[in-house]
C-alpha cells in the first residue's frame, strides 16, 4: 500500500496557568503515525488523551511544537504558498464532532458546500458546482439531494446533519478525511448508518479516514488499523483484529474491559478502575499510565516506555508487556 501521510515525532504542548507560569501541558508527545491510501485508521483513547489535538495538528489548525507531518513525501512545514496550503486543506478536510454547532444555522445547507467548492474546485463553473453539490449529497445517502440542499440545518436530524458534514468534506475531492468523534453525539440507533457511510466512502471515493473515537467497538467495526492513545502518547498500535484479540498494553486491556456488551455475561470480578486521566503538565519521565497500572514495576517510574514490536506490525509501549 502507498503511504499517504506520516507524522514523525509529532509533538504539541500548550502553555497553561498564567502568562509567566511557564507550565506546559503535553497534549501530544512524540507521535509517529502513518496513514496509507484507502486506509481507515482508528485513533482511540479517553477524553484528554490528545486524540483531538492530533486531528487539529493534521488539519493544520495548530502548528506542531516539534516534529513534522509528511504528506505525500513533502513536509507540511515546507508548504508556504497559499495555493499549496489551500490544496492541502482540500485534500485533508475535517468532520467535526457536534453536528448541531458545526453547520451555520443562518444559511441553507448548500451554503457551506458551495463555498467549499468555490474555494477548492476552481475548475467548476456555477452549473458544475451545483451538480457536484448534488452528487456529494447523494453520495452521503441523502435523497432527494436538490431538496436537502435548500433546507436549513434545523430542518435536518442529527444524523442528516452529520452526513452533510461528510458531504462538505467530500466536495473537496479529499484524500484523507479526519473524522473527530463523528458519531458520539448521535443516537445509538443511527450511529451505525454513519459508520457504514464511512466504509462506503472508502470503497466508492477511495479516501482514507482517520476515525477518532473513544468507542473501541465502533473502531473495530470500521477500521483496518488501530492506534490507542493515553496521556499524549500512542501506547499501542497494530492491525485492529490483532490488537483487540490480544491487547498488549494494560490500558488497552482496561479500555476493552469497559465496553458494555449485552451479549457477554457481566464479569463481577472484572477490575474496576476508578483512576483519572493524567494531567500531563510538565511530566517527569516514566510511563504515564503507571498510576493506574496493575502491572507497574520500578522501571516504569523512571523510564518512558517506547513502542516495541511484540507481534507482526503490532507494537506497544510497555516495559512489562510481552
Amino acid at each position: 500500500m502507498t503511504e499517504l501521510l506520516r507524522t514523525h515525532g509529532l509533538t504539541r504542548h500548550f502553555r497553561v496557568g498564567g502568562t509567566f507560569s511557564g507550565k506546559r501541558l503535553h497534549a501530544v508527545d512524540d507521535v509517529d503515525l502513518t496513514i496509507d491510501e484507502r486506509e481507515i485508521i482508528a485513533l482511540v483513547g479517553e477524553s484528554g488523551s490528545g486524540k483531538s489535538t492530533i486531528a487539529r495538528l493534521l488539519a493544520r489548525v495548530y502548528a506542531p511544537t516539534a516534529g513534522e507531518i509528511i504528506y505525500r513525501g513533502r513536509s507540511l512545514a515546507k508548504l508556504r504558498r497559499r495555493k499549496e496550503l489551500l490544496s492541502y486543506r482540500g485534500d485533508v478536510p475535517m468532520v467535526f464532532q457536534d453536528p448541531f454547532s458545526s453547520l451555520n444555522p443562518a444559511y441553507r445547507v448548500n451554503h457551506g458546500i458551495m463555498r467549499g467548492l468555490l474555494l477548492h474546485r476552481p475548475d467548476l463553473d456555477a452549473a458544475g458546482r451545483r451538480a457536484e453539490a448534488v452528487r456529494v449529497v447523494e453520495a452521503v445517502g441523502l435523497h432527494p439531494a436538490a431538496e436537502i440542499l435548500d433546507r436549513y440545518p434545523y430542518q435536518l436530524s442529527g444524523g442528516q446533519r452529520q452526513r452533510i458534514g461528510f458531504a462538505q468534506a467530500l466536495a473537496y475531492r479529499p484524500k484523507l478525511i479526519i473524522a473527530d468523534e463523528p458519531v458520539s453525539m448521535l443516537d445509538v440507533s443511527i450511529r451505525i448508518g454513519l459508520l457504514n457511510l464511512m466504509a462506503a466512502l472508502r470503497e466508492d471515493e477511495g479516501v482514507s479516514i482517520l476515525y477518532i473515537t473513544h468507542d473501541i467497538a465502533s473502531a473495530r467495526y470500521l477500521s483496518d488499523r488501530i492506534a490507542v492513545m493515553y496521556g499524549g502518547h500512542i501506547v499501542e498500535t497494530g492491525p485492529t483484529e490483532a490488537v483487540l484479540a490480544e491487547p498488549k498494553h494494560p490500558y488497552t486491556q482496561l479500555l476493552l474491559s469497559a465496553v458494555p456488551d449485552p451479549r457477554a455475561p457481566l464479569d463481577e470480578a472484572a477490575v474496576v478502575d476508578r483512576g483519572e486521566p493524567p494531567r500531563v503538565v510538565d511530566p517527569a519521565p516514566g510511563c504515564r499510565f503507571r498510576g493506574r497500572c496493575p502491572l507497574a514495576i520500578e522501571r516504569c517510574e523512571v523510564e518512558t516506555p517506547l513502542l516495541r514490536e511484540l507481534a507482526p506490525q503490532h507494537r506497544a509501549a510497555c516495559h512489562v508487556a510481552t
Binding site: 442528516q160 443516537d187 440507533s189 443511527i190 451505525i192 448508518g193 457504514n196 483487540l244 478502575d273
Partner: protein
C-alpha cells in the same frame, strides 16, 4: 405497595396546531431498591417522562392525564409546597449534563451546602460533615469541596452530582443520561458505582439512556420507549435475550460488538416520527422491517409476551382481532 406507581401518564406539548403528545399512556411501577432503565432514541419522550415524574415540566409541556403515586401520594396533584418537602429528601434527580447543572462560579462545597440549606436547618459543622461523607461515598477526595466544577474531570463532576442527589439518602434517584458525556472507562466505573451505592443505601433508580447496551448488566426492569409510548417492557435479561418488539431488536442490533465475528449491521433506517403528526396505525410501522398490512391502520396495545409486554401486532395472542390487553 410499590415505591412509585405510574398509571396512564400523558404529557402534551401545546403547539400552534394540535398538541404534540410526548408521553402517551405510560404505566409502570418501581419497587423499593429496584433499578429501572428507560431507553429510546432522541425525541421518544424519555426525558419528558422523567421530568414529568419529578414534576419538573414547565409550559408548554403539561401532564394532561394519569397519576404518579410516590408511596401512595399522587405527585401530579400535589402542591409545590408539599412537593418541596419530598424533593431531595425522598426523591432526587441527577441531570444529564453535569457541566451545565453545576454552578460554574461557586465551589462544590458551597453547592452541597446550598442544597442542604434549602431542605433543612443545619449547622455549618453538620453541613461540612455530611458533604465530606457524600463525597467519600462517590469516591471523590473531600479536598475537592473547595474545587470549582471546571477543576474536576467530567467523571468527577458527574459523581459530584450524584453525591448531591444522595445528601439526604432519598428512596428514589432519577437519572437522566448521567453517563452520556463520559468515555467508556469512566462510564463503566460510574455504572458500577451506582450499583454499589444502591446495594449499600437501598435507593431505587430510574435511569434514562439512549444506549441500551449500557444498562444491560445493571438494570432490573427495562422500558423501551418509541414515539412517546412504551413499546416493550420487562425484566432486563428477558428483553435482551428475547426482544419481542421489532424496535427493541433494531436497537440491540444497532451497536457493533467487540466479540465474535465482524458482521455488517444496518441499524434502524429512517428517523422517529413527528409527535404532533403520528401515523394512524403503529407508530413504528414506517421503519419496521416486519410490518404487515394491519400495522398501517391498527394501533397495537401492549400484549403480554412471557414476563414482558410488547406493543406489536405480531405479538397478539390470536390473529390480529385480539382484544385490548388488560392493564
Amino acid at each position: 405497595m410499590p415505591l412509585l406507581d405510574v398509571q396512564h401518564l400523558r404529557v402534551e406539548y401545546a403547539t400552534e396546531n394540535r398538541p404534540a403528545i410526548a408521553v402517551d399512556d405510560v404505566s409502570f411501577t418501581v419497587g423499593e431498591g429496584e433499578f429501572v432503565a428507560v431507553v429510546g432514541e432522541s425525541g421518544c419522550g424519555k426525558s419528558t417522562l422523567l421530568f414529568a415524574l419529578a414534576r419538573l415540566l414547565s409550559p408548554p409541556a403539561e401532564i394532561t392525564h394519569g397519576s404518579v403515586d410516590f408511596r401512595g401520594k399522587n405527585l401530579v396533584t400535589m402542591t409545590e409546597r408539599r412537593l418541596n418537602v419530598l424533593r431531595w429528601r425522598e426523591f432526587s434527580v441527577v441531570m444529564q449534563s453535569a457541566m451545565n447543572a453545576l454552578n460554574p462560579v461557586t465551589s462544590v462545597g458551597a453547592q452541597l451546602a446550598d442544597a442542604m440549606a434549602a431542605h433543612g436547618r443545619y449547622t455549618s459543622a453538620e453541613v461540612t460533615q455530611r458533604s465530606v461523607e457524600v463525597l467519600k461515598l462517590v469516591g471523590i477526595d473531600p479536598i475537592h469541596l473547595a474545587s470549582y466544577p471546571h477543576q474536576l474531570s467530567g467523571g468527577m463532576r458527574q459523581r459530584a452530582m450524584i453525591a448531591m442527589a444522595l445528601l439526604f439518602t432519598p428512596d428514589l434517584v432519577i437519572m437522566d443520561e448521567p453517563t452520556s458525556a463520559l468515555d467508556v472507562v469512566a462510564q463503566r466505573a460510574l455504572m458500577v458505582q451506582i450499583r454499589e451505592l444502591q446495594a449499600q443505601l437501598g435507593f431505587a433508580v430510574i435511569f434514562v439512556t439512549h444506549d441500551m447496551s449500557l444498562v444491560s448488566h445493571f438494570s432490573d426492569q427495562l422500558l423501551v420507549m418509541y414515539a412517546g409510548q412504551v413499546v416493550e417492557a420487562g425484566p432486563t435479561r428477558t428483553v435482551f435475550d428475547h426482544p419481542a418488539h421489532p424496535y427493541s431488536r433494531g436497537l440491540l442490533d444497532a451497536f457493533p460488538s467487540i466479540h465474535g465475528p465482524r458482521v455488517p449491521l444496518t441499524g434502524i433506517p429512517g428517523s422517529p416520527p413527528d409527535l404532533s403528526r403520528l401515523p394512524a396505525g403503529c407508530t413504528f410501522q414506517p421503519r419496521c422491517p416486519v410490518s404487515i398490512d394491519e400495522c398501517v391502520t391498527t394501533r397495537p396495545p401492549l400484549y403480554p409476551v412471557g414476563p414482558a409486554l410488547s406493543r406489536c401486532l405480531l405479538n397478539a395472542p390470536a390473529p390480529v382481532s385480539a382484544p385490548e390487553a388488560s392493564k
